[in-house]
């Protein structure tokens, strides 16, 4: 009962702050532009003469859908961050939190409920945008990823990881500082992924190693990489090699281990946040 009450409270707050309105407008703009991009990309495909060994349709499909994956992850992260960014310190500074936590529901319930609330919104949102983008690409270019569901779930999982990190940050940091910190972490994860791709292309062990460490340290990036990998998991030969060198790269950290690690990571982040919140003077 208390969990549902706090979940509802958090979502009402997000509606009131027009978080959903902003995200819906951004999403509509993205999907519109994405549809336009797909239309031109696949229309011009007939005039493209790719190098021998490269299949143009999977190449363009995977490339452009990889872009959609990035945009979906970004929009999902924006939503997750703005749902969780000021849950503890921000709300405490505004005097919103104290009347709630003196009630007999426990600080852990407050924190868990706010995470569940964010996940309950972000996961369906990410899946909806993911499948909408896939439908657009399928419609324009008659191409679908090799794995249809798992990459979407991994994207959603990545957003859930970011929501947990944002909640943890909200225990210790003021709202603005937390927002900056989370978006910098998000950017760092993506940059590390690109560095890994560069490292792979130039055969640099150091860069690949650094990217691998970053992916484990920030598993939303590992999940995103694994999702990208699964888009073309059946591609072979030069097509596969070139796709892995593309701006959105391939999955150098992947598989069931990274998914399990992401679950454990959320649990660890959650425990640290709970302990921090329990010890925090309000």
């Amino acid at each position: 009962m208390s969990v549902l009450t706090v979940v509802r409270y958090g979502l009402q707050e997000a509606v009131r702050r027009r978080v959903f309105a902003v995200v819906i407008v951004l999403t509509a703009a993205f999907l519109g532009l994405y549809a336009l991009g797909n239309h031109y990309a696949f229309r011009d495909l007939a005039h493209v003469n790719p190098p021998a060994g490269i299949e143009p349709r999977p190449f363009v499909g995977a490339f452009i859908f990889g872009l959609a994956m990035f945009a979906t992850l970004f929009l999902g992260v924006v939503l997750a961050v703005f749902l969780t960014i000021g849950v503890v310190r921000g709300d405490a500074e505004r005097g919103l939190l104290q009347p709630l936590v003196v009630r007999p529901l426990g600080r852990s319930t407050v924190l868990l409920s706010r995470w569940l609330g964010a996940v309950a919104v972000c996961v369906p949102y990410v899946l909806a945008v993911y499948f909408a983008a896939m439908a657009i690409t399928d419609n324009a270019g008659h191409w679908v990823p090799d794995r249809i569901v798992t990459p979407g779930l991994e994207l959603a999982g990545g957003v859930a990881v970011v929501a947990a990190l944002s909640l943890l940050g909200s225990v210790f940091l003021a709202t603005t500082a937390n927002g900056i910190a989370i978006f910098m972490l998000f950017g760092a994860g993506l940059v590390a992924g690109l560095l890994g791709t560069i490292g792979h292309a130039i055969n640099s062990r150091a860069l690949s190693h650094a990217a691998r460490i970053a992916a484990w340290a920030l598993p939303f990036e590992a999940l995103y990489q694994d999702g990208l990998r699964l888009l073309t998991v059946r591609a072979t030969g030069l097509t596969r090699f070139v796709l892995q060198l593309g701006p959105f790269g391939g999955g150098y950290v992947h598989g069931a281990t990274v998914r399990l690690w992401a679950v454990a990571y959320v649990a660890i982040v959650g425990v640290v946040a709970l302990v921090g919140f329990a010890r925090k003077d309000l």
Partner: protein
């Protein structure tokens, strides 16, 4: 009988600042205790520790026999913070509904209507918090603190934003709550208000209780003044018992009036805090 609030050797340190230094304080069932002191004396810290918002550095507090901050303690208390805010998009009724759900109160619509009536907000039931004046929000805060019929009420500056009529409403409300056996710890700067409603008063200074007792106990005799034809004659240090003797000593003089001077709570307070303001 278990005390509504029992504070023993309570200390709180924020870095190098000692907010509380070994405070002992009890509030008995049905008792209304006023907590006075200058800004930074530790009053809000004490209340926050009692309601579980702040962890003590040493000592402890129990609310209705349960350790402060525990689930059992939080089930027994109502709290109005000094600085609080309710979501602006909620109506008064929705704020109370939210707190009914969080506190597990099964009072339903009847309890909400009663509480809004108690604080004079019946007509503002559907009004959004963001459309309310500060005074109305403060009264809504008091109603919120009463959700679930708490045994102990912690009110941190409950009348700071209220006009004289609003203050009177709160004063009458506190007296009604005392009649129902609710214990109240009232943290306030308004000495006259505390003097009017509180059974006992504790004055905090720099984290320590420097004076405590009933207003009558604290209001010590400051002397006697006798108005004679020759003017007002003062006898500092004299008490009521000295009046017959003093009058006898003034044989032959015309006496128009005799006044036994006692300290007001304000004078007691100023003496206790030594002019400290923060």
């Amino acid at each position: 009988m278990t005390s509504a609030l029992a504070v023993r050797g309570l200390a709180k340190r924020y870095g190098t600042v000692e907010a509380l230094r070994g405070v002992d304080l009890t509030v008995e069932p049905g008792e209304l205790v006023g907590l006075l002191g200058p800004n930074g004396a530790g009053k809000s810290t004490l209340v926050k520790i009692a309601v579980g918002l702040v962890r003590p550095s040493a000592g402890g507090a129990e609310v209705a026999g349960a350790p402060a901050g525990s689930l059992a303690a939080r089930r027994s208390l109502g709290y109005l913070a000094e600085l609080f805010r309710f979501p602006g998009w909620h109506s008064a009724d929705e704020v109370l509904l939210l707190h009914q759900r969080l506190s597990g109160s099964d009072g339903g619509e009847r309890e909400r209507a009663e509480l809004l009536d108690l604080v004079g907000l019946t007509d503002a039931r559907r009004r959004r918090v963001e459309d309310m004046s500060k005074g109305m929000q403060q009264r809504l805060g008091i109603a919120q603190a009463l959700v679930g019929s708490p045994r102990v009420l912690f009110l941190d500056e409950p009348t700071s934003a209220l006009d004289p009529v609003g203050r009177r409403v709160v004063r009458e409300l506190l007296e009604r709550l005392r009649g129902r056996g609710v214990s109240v710890l009232l943290n306030s700067h308004l000495l006259s208000e505390v003097e009017l409603v509180c059974d006992r008063v504790a004055i905090l200074l720099a984290g320590e209780v420097v004076a405590a007792g009933t207003p009558a106990e604290l209001a010590s005799t400051r002397g006697v003044e006798i108005e004679t034809a020759a003017g007002v004659r003062s006898f500092p240090g004299a008490t009521r018992d000295d009046v017959p003797r003093l009058v006898e000593e003034l044989v032959g003089e015309r006496i128009y009036g005799v006044r036994v001077l006692t300290s007001t709570l304000e004078e007691v307070y100023l003496e206790a805090v030594g002019g400290e303001t923060s």
